[in-house]
């Protein structure tokens, strides 16, 4: 691709991130993207980068409990917020939602799956029993190139206690 290195260096600053309950401190270009910092500096590679421009959802993380695209989020902007990645969600073993993804066979290649789980977790925390329509709406920013949408929807609904 012809996308250039981001123009102009930015003066590094001290950025303190709270990721999965742990404190991380960096001297860093504050415009570096949260997704890259999670993956390359902290080693949390569960967060995937599909498009790098907000258009696929693979990079979803929870920011103060709300799902956001970490590929567009400047790390300087993420400081001071509570960040949860897929690794944080499953620290104590697979969550019921992850078990439901497995039971429903809601993935093929699995590249989109961390983002799907994170976005669905954000939804279920805000709305524990969403309708099918609410699930579709909430998940509309997460693309699955393998086309597992019906099973993803089924997995989320099976955890929701919603009647669809």
């Amino acid at each position: 691709m012809l996308v250039p290195e981001r123009g102009g260096a930015v003066v590094p600053v001290t950025v303190v991130l709270c990721v999965n309950g742990e404190r991380h401190e960096f001297e860093i270009d504050p415009l570096e993207r949260l997704a890259d910092v999670l993956r390359d500096r902290i080693g949390l590679v569960g967060t995937k980068v599909g498009c790098g421009e907000g258009a696929c959802g693979a990079c979803a993380v929870l920011l103060d409990g709300r799902a956001v695209a970490s590929c567009l989020l400047a790390v300087g902007s993420a400081a001071g917020h509570r960040i949860e990645t897929i690794e944080g969600l499953s620290r104590d073993g697979l969550t019921p939602l992850q078990e439901a993804f497995i039971a429903a066979d809601a993935l093929q290649c699995g590249f989109c799956t961390p983002g799907q789980i994170v976005a669905a977790t954000g939804l279920l925390r805000a709305e524990p029993a969403p309708t099918r329509a609410a699930v579709r709406q909430a998940m509309s920013g997460n693309i699955c190139r393998c086309g597992c949408y019906p099973k993803i929807e089924q997995a989320i609904l099976s955890c929701s206690g919603g009647d669809g």
Binding site: P4, A69, L72, N142
Partner: protein
């Protein structure tokens, strides 16, 4: 070397913005992409998330929305239930992941999504070059007006706010002014290719909604039902007998329509003329929806 700051008061933000080359960062969902592609290279990036501009509150018979309120908050705000078009537009824009950080101010000030403008291979007319590549290339998703730049305005919120008679409060280190949302936009010309009337030292602090319309609706067609820019986005509001209509996706800035002749001034460009049918259809549906 450029710098980054996160001022905790509006006054500090305005002082920083008075420095040449500085630029406001809100949710960053648009500015990040512009910086990545070298289309913006601010010397100071001013993240305004802590500047206290995120509240939505009653204001007389209307509502005042802080510029850093997110689209997700606007879409569900109880204070905005009578501004149906605005809530619908906020709920339809971008995707849930983006709406959780994308702000009202940023949505109004986002730059064109024209793929030639955004492509790093070319500098098109709007970017300061001498050719509108869309006109000699692909422009099926572009605007319906002829001109130097035929790009399609991308903001869903702008038409919804315009038909609601909303104003924006604009502040700089030297003062505050208030103007209609439509006046935020200008058609670019040879001498000034900018699509916004904001000065480089200015920031939108609030959007002010006066008393609500009697009825309003936002209708849009995108490439998909969700998660795609408006090919045509139409807001319709009714105040008593008066109908107001404005659209995104049909001109390079939000376009105010004549409800009795919605296609006026919108002849279409060769590949985009199909949008005329969509606009006319949405307008007739919109008229029905607000007069029922």
């Amino acid at each position: 070397m450029s710098t980054f700051c996160r001022p905790t008061t509006l006054a500090d933000a305005l002082a920083a913005l008075a420095e040449p080359g500085s630029r406001v960062l809100a949710g960053g969902t648009d500015l990040s992409g512009l910086i990545d592609r070298g289309l913006a290279s601010p010397t100071t990036v001013i993240d305004v998330q802590d500047a206290g501009l995120d509240r939505i509150e009653r204001c007389g018979a209307g509502v005042r929305i802080g510029a850093t309120a997110t689209l997700a908050t606007v879409a569900v705000s109880d204070l905005l239930t009578r501004w149906t078009a605005l809530r619908e537009a906020a709920a339809a824009a971008a995707s849930p992941l983006l709406r959780n950080v994308a702000t009202v101010g940023g949505n109004l000030c986002q730059h064109t999504r024209c793929w030639y403008y955004r492509g790093v291979e070319w500098t098109c007319w709007l970017g300061g070059g001498d050719t509108c590549f869309a006109q000699i290339g692909e422009h099926e998703r572009h605007g319906l007006q002829p001109g130097d730049c035929i790009s399609a305005h991308p903001s869903d919120l702008a038409p919804a706010l315009i038909v609601s008679d909303a104003t924006v409060v604009v502040a700089s280190a030297t003062g505050i002014r208030e103007q209609p949302v439509a006046a935020l936009y200008r058609r670019p010309d040879v001498d000034d290719r900018s699509l916004l009337t904001l000065g480089p030292d200015e920031v939108i602090t609030h959007v002010v909604l006066p008393a609500p319309p009697d009825a309003s609706v936002y209708l849009r067609e995108g490439q998909r039902e969700a998660f795609s820019f408006p090919l045509v986005g139409l807001a319709v509001a009714r105040f008593g007998e008066r109908l107001v209509m404005a659209a995104a996706g049909v001109a390079n800035i939000p376009h105010l329509l004549d409800p009795d002749d919605v296609l006026h001034d919108l002849p279409g460009n060769p590949q985009s003329a199909w949008k005329r049918t969509v606009l006319a259809t949405l307008a007739s549906r919109g008229r029905t929806a607000v007069t029922m």
